[in-house]
Subunit: 120 residues, 2 copies
Amino acid sequence: MSLSVEKHDVFQAIADPTRRKILQLLVEKDLPISEITLNFSMSRTAVVKHLHILSDAGLVHGQKIGREKIYHLQAKPLVEVKQWLSYYEQFWNNKLSILKHVVENDGVSGITRIEKEPDK
Amino acid sequence: MSLSVEKHDVFQAIADPTRRKILQLLVEKDLPISEITLNFSMSRTAVVKHLHILSDAGLVHGQKIGREKIYHLQAKPLVEVKQWLSYYEQFWNNKLSILKHVVENDGVSGITRIEKEPDK
DNA sequence: TTGACATGAAACCAAAAGGTGTTATATTAT
DNA sequence: ATAATATAACACCTTTTGGTTTCATGTCAA
């Protein structure tokens, strides 16, 4: 009953290009299913399925108004992805962070020549 | 032939929990396939398939040393996800950013009561 | 009230995903 | 040389995905 039942995983929800495009469309403004569908070359039914997946992940919310169902973007669940990413950020930012992490965790293999190797 | 042929999409690569766990394992240290497999209850062949997908996305790199193939984490491709996310960050950070965006893009529907509503 | 519109819901389908097991090959330790 | 190890390469299987079409239902406008 809570706001985040999330039957579908956020990571899986954003994995599909079509769904990412839907999110992008909803950034500009809320849209009914029919208008969302206009932006794709697939059937309305297919779009609806994507909307359901996005909805299950908590990324959009559809509200029925009259005969239309207006979808609205809800970006909050993306925080989970953001947090997951932030953990890995140190591994592409600079090699010193990697060294630090390796030393702290006694990992050794693979880190052969760290010496120089200019950033990037 | 370039370093980023990326047959597989990064978004799709990180969508699977098993693959995310593999990345996590490789954070600590480089590992051969056999050792990676020890962490899962699936066959080595299945793990190898996940490694291929991660490799196609540029997230790991396997180097054959002797009879072992040592896999190494390469976080850089995650930057793409980070950038994609940063675009949406404004929509969960504070409502003022949303208002700003809406005004700039003439989107109107859906933004009903922005007035107060304390940050978070 | 009647037709057009917007969505809901169901049945169906091909292809991709995620697994399995078997067999072959290269490498290392004895 | 030989056995054990580590991986590669297949063939095969089941479930999930992403899509389709068809039909039913609720709502709005004339």
